[in-house]
Symmetry: C2
Subunit: 343 residues, 2 copies
């Protein structure tokens, strides 16, 4: 089987790099925030998706099994939503040595102070309460991310605006390495900003996380979806059906906006809810049906793929081989420019 058969490296097509940390199953937040978009992008660009197990280890260094267990889950999620390995290179970070090697070279042109100033890393350090015990790999992961992006010569990176400082850091490294090399080996990248607002968690308060139980994964069973919708945060002042209710900040309507195929219908529901006379039981029933319809076929395909792990491994292996060819070339270019390519 050659899952890469139709990927032709067209030099005129811009290259995209995107990916996910392999630390859990993907959920509805990933679906609206990036997966849907990737299904479209694969037709217009050379799209590479990195299963970022090494990055997953930067804050799970003592629990590699958590990362290992999720690699094939993530690949199954990709295929289940319609990412096509014939159009998209799906590859495994830990199996691409050039990424680690480039990280080593880049580490010498980035100061610790610069890393500590990175706003994205700063806020992540705070949220993880690492303090001074922050692992070296975590503080330096923007360097590793720059290695990922540049190794694929990616010029377009789909991100949320909270990730813009990471791309700035990458482009700083690109300019430094090109200056040292005396030629433009590396390519600067630009964000491809998502138009979709970040999906809130079902409790409307905390960041989505499996441990908080406030997320709906792409493999969620029917009962879990039902319970998740029932427990969703709505408008706490909307006590009786006949009371006027607030749509803003009402998670049920946020999800309806994000997932219901009929936008006009949702607008009439909103109007009714604002005026009074529409109960949360009804809106939740509509949302639940919509999410059951969305997730049911994904869950089915996902389960089928996970029943055929050999196929998932083959997809990942084939994509990784393709990625190794691309990334080795960038590494070789840098080593040659640095005078280190002796044999």
């Amino acid at each position: 089987m050659n899952t890469q058969a139709s990927i032709t490296p067209d030099q005129h097509q811009p290259i995209i790099l995107t990916g996910d940390r392999a630390t859990g199953q993907l959920h509805l937040g990933h679906y609206v925030g990036s997966l849907q978009q990737r299904v479209q992008l694969q037709h217009q660009y050379q799209q590479n998706i990195l299963v970022a197990d090494m990055q997953g280890l930067t804050d799970n260094g003592h629990n590699p099994q958590k990362v290992a267990d999720n690699i094939l889950n993530v690949v199954a999620d990709y295929l289940a939503v319609g990412i096509d390995p014939k159009l998209t290179t799906i590859c495994l970070q830990s199996a691409i040595p050039a990424l680690a090697e480039l990280t080593m070279y880049y580490s010498n042109v980035v100061s610790i102070a610069r890393l500590e100033r990175n706003p994205t890393v700063k806020s992540e350090i705070q949220s993880k309460a690492f303090g001074r015990s922050i692992p070296a790999g975590f503080l330096t992961y923007p360097i590793s991310q720059a290695a990922d992006i540049t190794a694929f010569r990616a010029s377009l990176i789909p991100v949320g605006d909270d990730q813009l400082p990471m791309l700035e850091q990458t482009n700083e490294i690109v300019r430094k390495i090109n200056t040292i090399a005396g030629k433009n080996i590396l390519v600067e990248c630009q964000p491809l900003l998502s138009k979709v607002a970040r999906l809130p968690s079902t409790d409307g308060k905390n960041k989505m996380s499996k441990s908080m139980g406030n997320t709906i994964t792409l493999g969620a069973d029917s009962k879990t979806i039902s319970q998740a919708v029932k427990s969703m945060y709505t408008d706490p002042t909307h006590l009786r059906v006949e009371d006027p209710g607030c749509v803003e900040g009402n998670i049920v309507f946020t999800y309806l906006d994000a997932f219901h195929p009929d936008g006009a219908y949702i607008e009439t529901l909103k109007q009714q809810y604002r005026q009074g006379g529409l109960g949360d039981g009804t809106t939740k029933k509509i949302l639940e049906q919509c999410l059951q319809d969305l997730i049911s076929p994904i869950r089915k395909r996902r389960a089928d793929y996970l029943n055929n792990k050999d196929y998932l491994i083959e997809v990942l292996k084939s994509g990784t081989e393709h990625a190794n060819q691309q990334t080795q070339q960038v590494l070789t270019d840098i080593k040659t420019a640095f005078g280190l390519n002796l044999f």
Copy 2:
């Protein structure tokens, strides 16, 4: 040509890892401090010598040419002093991907605070006046060094006592990774402490460095050796030949002790110098002759090797292939234990 023909990986022979940063020509300090010892060790141990170009880049990130230019110089120095590629694996750090990959894994179990506490790194940071602009690669190089040592399963590391904190750091990583892996994949290492005191610079004040002009390289020409000895720091209170002189801290005597083959003769000279009646001109002449005799054949062999760069590259390539086999095995063992060895 197979320069590795006689290296048989005897499991019962302890493994040594040693090496040098490829940032300059090796000098007399290296000769008495480590090179002489390595010529002996290669008969008793499985000795690996790493030409540490990646480590050289950690504080030369903006000047890779300096490192690149010195790789073959260092290999020529090794061969010229008698290190035999049939007995010792001479290999190039940047051409061994497993070292970078292991560094990435280890980075997740070492905190930034722990690195900043490392006394060796601390004093090096001070001496280099990096301040907050210390490159990430420099602060984290003890992790990379741990990768080097463990990738070769080296249990004996020839070091000066200033390097002991680096080995402590390595063994901490070894224990952490073995705990996470659930089995003893990595081997703890022990120092093989050099019995020879560190050779002072010819000016007796500063650390030896090419830019200070206070060192004698193994390729130094006859005139340079002569000038270096003439400018050597002796006893500033020893003004006239008939005055009693001090031997302690007198660089000429320190070098005579280190390099003159006839220890008994040097003892009589010391006695005479202490009593008065022996001039610095005479002691310097004796030292110069001794150093000319030592360096002349090394310089000759060194130049011959450098005239045959293809041979030097072949030695390095062959040793690196051998090293890649060894180090890939350790990497595979860790990836397998971590559940990341999918294909």
